[in-house]
């Protein structure tokens, strides 16, 4: 087996600033208030993922899931410890990719694909598949600013999933799509899994985690609360007991967030 993702003793702090202007900072320092405050989003997190594993990353809101994904994806760097990955990474960080609002869907496809490391020829080859998967129809040449949140999320997911990658990250991707689209996404992610790619899937939906993953990591206030089997992980979070008023379908396909 080869290691795919190594997260070694990683800590990430965020600086929170209350006082923005010079006057506010002066007043604060005269009064002896703290000018800035730090918040620890991840605290000495360590784990290793082998190539081909598919991980469900779970945890309550604010437990550090998105920060961890940003570190693995390379958007952020850890303050302490190190994050190492092997191969090309594709995927989505939170819903909606980094689109440029004034650009058309077409231009955004090329730009996003280039950022993910695709060449022009590669993008052209996959262009029709991407457009078909995203199902944005005649909005292809409309600026992305005019897209609905669902269309924007579909396009982002379509690009990410068509990149030849070794690691696929999916952060709450299924939150905005409608049911047919969710189904399509799940199928593609199953395919990714079968191809032996590493899958890193953030979700609140125990049903889809059960279908998709063979290991669950639970984050709790920036620390690893649980790392192990899927059912045990879901049980650890107490997500297996149906909350009153839950539709059974939510469990099935995942109403993330």
């Amino acid at each position: 087996m080869t290691e795919s993702i190594v997260v070694d003793n990683v800590t990430k702090n965020f600086t929170m600033r209350d006082h923005r202007t010079l006057k506010q900072m002066l007043v604060a320092s005269v009064r002896g208030h703290q000018i800035s405050d730090t918040f620890r989003a991840l605290d000495q997190v360590s784990f290793t993922v082998e190539q081909g594993e598919s991980i469900g990353l779970m945890g309550l809101n604010g437990s550090g899931k998105s920060t961890l994904l940003k570190l693995i994806n390379g958007v952020m760097r850890p303050d302490e410890g190190r994050v190492l990955t092997r191969g090309r990474i594709a995927g989505l960080i939170a819903t909606g990719a980094g689109f440029h609002q004034q650009l058309s869907g077409r231009d955004n496809i090329f730009l996003n694909a280039a950022i993910l490391g695709m060449t022009e020829a590669e993008t052209r080859r996959k262009f029709d598949d991407i457009v078909e998967f995203a199902d944005i129809g005649r909005f292809l040449d409309t600026p992305v600013a005019a897209y609905s949140s669902g269309m924007s999320a579909r396009l982002g997911f379509a690009i990410a999933i068509h990149v030849d990658s070794h690691i696929f990250l999916a952060d709450e991707v299924l939150a905005v799509g409608d049911r047919p689209f969710k189904r399509k996404c799940m199928e593609r992610m199953q395919q990714i899994r079968k191809e032996g790619r590493t899958l890193f899937y953030v979700s609140h939906a125990p049903g889809s985690v059960r279908k998709m993953c063979d290991r669950v990591i639970v984050l709790e206030k920036g620390r690893i609360g649980f790392d192990g089997g899927v059912d045990e992980g879901i049980h650890y979070l107490k997500y297996d007991a149906p909350a009153p008023g839950d539709e059974p379908d939510d469990d099935d396909l995942g109403a993330d967030i």
Binding site: Q51, G74, V75, R86, G87, H100, L111
Partner: protein, 298 residues
């Protein structure tokens, strides 16, 4: 980057475990030329999106500015009386000042205005200020073409020294422009005041270079020959303007006794280029250090 294997399983020999963060640095930006090309194309398209004249604005704007200065400073304040071919003198300067102002102005805003991408995608962020500088370069080249045509029509004596001066001036200013764009784009993420500061500096710049007046006037003025003249000339834009005028204006005037420059103008240009390269190195280092805080500050 190695080609992907069909199995989607990376061969450990080709794909070592490494940090997923983009390597960054100017070298990485130019290694990913395709990405840079897309960002540049996008900025060009976006600049004149929803405007009727479109790309023509990069001719109309300098033309209007030129006419206003020519009227106000040349005809009303009579600066062109002791400056032969004042129009060429003015236009050569205007091109360089606008080049610098565009590089620094657009460069400063570049990371901030691309924050959606910066926050969500892993890419060398230097690509944004570098693209701004390249866009400014694209806008400037046609203007230099017009200047060259005008000089040819008037009658132009070619000189190797002049050509060297022009290239040195343009290249030197581009190096300073990239350095400022890198440094200010990063600082602007931390302190948004910078955008306003840069706006103020660039509006001063028209008066702080020998463009609407000749260098003669500086040499004759109260600061002529003092340390303050050196301070004035330490502005890379002032040196750049003088080098550009050495190329075009001197070529038109011909008689060297009518065109005064500081001593050792080319050497000054070379020194400014060397300082600019050091500054570029420092600016890139600073950008790298601040960059890790971008996603949380945007």
């Amino acid at each position: 980057m190695a080609e992907l294997t069909l199995s989607h399983q990376p061969d450990p020999a080709d794909w070592p475990l490494e940090s997923p963060a983009p390597k960054g640095g100017l070298a990485e930006v130019f290694r990913r030329r395709y990405l840079l090309k897309l960002v540049v194309k996008r900025q060009l398209a976006q600049q004149y999106a929803a405007s009727v004249l479109g790309f023509m604005w990069s001719y109309v704007q300098p033309a209007i500015r030129f006419l206003v200065y020519y009227f106000a400073v040349g005809m009303v304040l009579k600066a062109h009386v002791d400056t032969p071919y004042f129009a060429i003198h003015l236009f050569a300067g205007l091109i360089m000042v606008q080049f610098f102002n565009q590089m620094v102005g657009a460069g400063t805003r570049s990371v901030w205005s691309n924050r959606r991408l910066v926050k969500k995608m892993a890419l060398p962020r230097e690509v944004f200020p570098v693209a701004s500088v390249m866009v400014a370069g694209f806008h400037t080249l046609p203007q230099i073409g017009i200047l060259a045509i005008a000089c040819t029509i008037i009658g132009f004596t070619f000189e190797w020294t002049g050509l060297l001066a022009g290239l040195l001036g343009y290249g030197m200013l581009a190096v300073w422009g990239i350095a400022f764009a890198l440094l200010f784009s990063a600082l602007n993420v931390m302190v948004r005041d910078l955008q306003n500061l840069v706006g103020t500096i660039t509006s001063f710049m028209h008066f702080m270079v020998p463009m609407i007046y000749s260098y003669n006037r500086i040499a004759d003025s109260a600061i002529g020959g003092t340390i303050w003249e050196e301070v004035y000339l330490a502005n890379p834009v002032a040196t750049g303007v003088l080098l550009m005028q050495r190329c075009f204006w001197s070529g038109v005037v011909g008689d060297p006794s009518q065109t005064l420059y500081p001593d050792d103008l080319l050497l000054r240009g070379a020194i400014m280029l060397a300082i600019g390269l050091v500054f570029l190195f420092v600016a890139q280092r600073t950008f790298r250090r601040l960059e890790s805080r971008f996603p949380e500050r945007l």
